[in-house]
Subunit: 365 residues, 2 copies
C-alpha cells in the first residue's frame, strides 16, 4: 500500500505569518443550517424514492442562496469575524439513511450548494464538504466526491464521520486500515478532515448534547491508542467542540498514553490533531487555552448551530465564542492571532492559498 | 404505577454537619481492582459454563482479602483519606457476557467479597454493589440483588450501568419507564446510584478513555432531556469521572436546556445529580469547582483505577485527586469540607448512619 510521503510534518510548517495581508478572523466551523426549503423538500422526496426533479435542478436561485445566509453574514459583522469555513448541515448528512447511491447524490447536492455560496460570497465563506459515507461501505468509496469537492469545487476541508451508523458505532475505528485509502487522498490533496458525526438514530444519544461530544472524545482516544500518524505524518484532523471531553480530562489522557507506553501527547498526536473552540462558556475556553498548546487551537463558533440562545449569565449569545477567547487573560496578542487566523491558514493550506491569492489580486487593483 | 413518595427532596436535606464527629475524608469511588486470582479463575470457569466449585466457596480466606486491599490502605494513609465507598471492579461487571443467570451469580459473588472486605475493615471501606443487569432484560430483575446488598450486606450505594450492552447502546435511555421499578426501589431503600458503565466490547470505545467518559456525558444529557426527577424527587444519581464532558461544556448544556424550555439546570437536575472528582489534573478540578455548585461535588479518586502512573509534570500520581482539590484557590475551608465529607454523607444517608452510629459507639467506650 502506498502511503503519502513522509517528511516534515505539514502542521509544523512555519505559520504563514509574515506576509503582508490584513489580519483576519477565521471561523473554521460553520454549517449551512439555513438552507432553503427546496433542499429539505428534495431530501424528503429522495428518501421516499422519488428524487425528481433531478438533483442539479432544485430551482434554488442565487438570490435565494444569498438571502439564506444573511443571518450568518449579520453575525459575522456583529461579532467581528471575517470568513467562515462553511460545510453542509452536520446532522443533515445522516449517512445512515437511504442507500449508498442516495447518499452519493445527497452529498453532491449539498456540496454543490456550499460551492455556489462560497463562489457568490468568497470573502465570507470557504467551502468544506460532506463525504458520501455509508454504514458498511468502504471509506474509499468516498474518494471520487472528495476529489471533486477539492479539485473542482475548490473546497479547503472536509467533514469525516467516524460513525456513519448514526449512533450505533458498528464500523471500524479511525485507525483501521479500511480508512487508509481515504487518508492517502486527504494527504495527496493536502486538506484536513474535521471529525464530525451526524444525527443520531440511537435514542440514547441526543445529537448535539451527547453524540457530537462523545464522538470527539472517542476519536481522540482511538488516535491515542493507535499510531496512525506514523503512517500518515501529513494527515491533519480537527476535533470539533473543543475536543469533546478531552481537555477536561487531559490528565487522564496523558496518564493513559503513559501507561500504553506511547510518546507524550505533544509528540504522539499534537502535530496532527487540532481542537476548535466550540465551547460555549468562558471557563471552558479558559481550560482549553490552559491545557492545549496554542498552536493546536483554531477559532470556531459553529454559529447558527447547536446553541443559539442568549446566556442569562452574560446577556450575550452562548455561541459568541470570540468574546470568550478575547477574555482569556493568559492569551497574548500573538496567541490570539494564532487562534483567530494563522493556525487555520497552516492547517488549511488551500484556504491560505486562496487568501494569499486574493490579497495579491487586491494589491494589483 | 406506584412511585416513591414526593416530599422534601432528599439531597436538599440540611447536611448532617453539626454532629460531634471527627472530620473525615470520604472517597466515594473506589473499585476492587486487586482481587485475588481465585475470583478471576472463577469467572473464567463460569463463562466457560463450569462454575464449580459453587460460587460461595471460592476458597478466599479473610487474610487473603486483607492482603489484597493493602495497596488501597497504603494509599489512604499516604494521601490522607479515611474511607472509600468500595464496589466491584467496574470493567469486571461485563453485563454483556454470559446469560442473565450467570450475571446474577457473578453479581452475588462480587458483592459478597465487597461485603466481607467492608466487614473486615469497616473504618476503611463501605460497600457499594453491582447489579445483575443484562442486555434486553428488564432492570426490575435486579431488584432482589439490590435489596439483598442494601438490607443484608449493608451497602450504602450501587453502580447502575446505563449501557449493559457494553458499548452498543441497544437498551433504552435512563428516562425510560423500563427503569422505573428499579428507581422506586432505590428511593425506598434511600440509596444513590452511581451511573457507571462496564467494559466495552465495541472496538470503537476504549473502556476508560472513551466508554466511561461518553457514558457520563450521555447520562447527563438523557436526564436533561427528560423530567425523571419530577417522578422521583428523592432519586439521586452520582455521575462519575467529573461528569464526563459536562462541566467543560456547561454553557452548551445550559443553552440546550434553555432551548428545550427546561428549568435552569440548578432546578432541573442539581437537586438529584452529583459529580465526583475523578479528574486527573488540576485545571480540570478547577473548572469543575468553577461551574458546578459545591454542594454537587463529591470527592473521589478511583484510586487503583484507570490511571495509576506518576504525572511527570507534577511528580505526583495523576489520581492523587486530593492534592488538586486542596490546591483550588477559590474553594473555602467550608467548601472543601462539603466536598470531602458532608456532601457524601448527605447523598449516601446509609453511610452517614453508619458513621454516626460508629462515632456514637466510640464515645460509649
Amino acid at each position: 500500500m502506498e502511503i503519502c510521503r513522509a517528511g516534515p510534518n505539514a502542521p509544523r510548517k512555519v505559520p504563514n505569518d509574515t506576509q503582508d495581508t490584513a489580519r483576519m478572523i477565521i471561523d473554521i466551523h460553520g454549517h449551512y443550517t439555513t438552507e432553503p426549503q427546496a433542499l429539505h423538500d428534495f431530501r424528503k422526496r429522495q428518501l421516499a424514492g422519488n428524487s425528481s426533479p433531478p438533483a442539479p435542478d432544485l430551482g434554488i436561485s442565487d438570490d435565494e442562496l444569498r438571502t439564506s445566509v444573511e443571518p450568518q453574514l449579520r453575525l459575522q459583522k456583529e461579532r467581528g469575524s471575517d470568513l467562515t469555513i462553511f460545510s453542509p448541515r452536520a446532522s443533515g448528512m445522516a449517512h445512515h439513511l437511504g442507500t449508498e447511491a442516495i447518499g452519493i447524490e445527497w452529498s453532491r447536492v449539498c456540496n454543490d450548494l456550499i460551492h455556489r455560496i462560497s463562489t457568490l460570497l468568497p470573502g465570507n465563506f470557504a467551502g468544506a464538504g460532506q463525504l458520501p459515507q455509508h454504514p458498511g461501505a468502504p471509506p474509499k468509496n468516498c474518494i471520487p466526491e472528495l476529489e471533486r469537492m477539492v479539485t473542482e469545487l475548490g473546497f479547503v476541508g472536509v467533514n469525516l464521520n467516524p460513525d456513519p451508523s448514526g449512533g450505533y458505532w458498528t464500523g471500524p475505528p479511525l485507525t483501521d486500515p479500511d480508512w487508509y485509502p481515504l487518508y492517502e487522498k486527504l494527504c495527496e490533496l493536502d486538506v484536513p478532515a474535521m471529525i464530525h458525526v451526524s444525527s443520531s438514530c440511537n435514542p440514547n444519544f441526543h445529537f448535539t448534547g451527547a453524540h457530537y461530544i462523545n464522538a470527539d472524545t472517542t476519536a481522540f482516544m482511538q488516535l491515542l491508542q493507535g499510531d496512525l500518524f506514523k503512517d500518515f505524518p501529513k494527515l491533519r484532523f480537527v476535533i470539533p467542540h473543543g475536543g469533546g471531553a478531552v481537555p477536561f480530562h487531559w490528565g487522564r489522557y496523558r496518564g493513559l498514553a503513559q501507561e500504553m507506553k506511547k510518546p507524550l501527547l505533544a509528540d504522539h498526536l499534537l502535530g496532527n490533531v487540532f481542537f476548535d473552540t466550540c465551547v460555549y462558556h468562558l471557563p471552558g475556553i479558559e481550560l482549553l487555552a490552559k491545557v492545549i498548546p496554542v498552536d493546536n487551537i483554531l477559532f470556531a463558533s459553529e454559529m447558527l448551530g447547536a446553541v443559539k440562545g442568549i446566556d442569562p449569565e452574560t446577556a450575550h449569545h452562548y455561541d459568541d465564542v470570540k468574546r470568550y477567547v478575547e477574555q482569556v487573560e493568559m492569551l497574548s496578542v500573538a496567541d490570539r492571532r494564532k487562534i483567530f487566523e494563522t493556525n487555520a491558514r497552516r492547517v488549511y493550506p488551500r484556504l491560505d492559498a486562496k487568501l494569499t491569492a486574493r490579497a495579491s489580486a487586491d494589491r494589483g487593483h
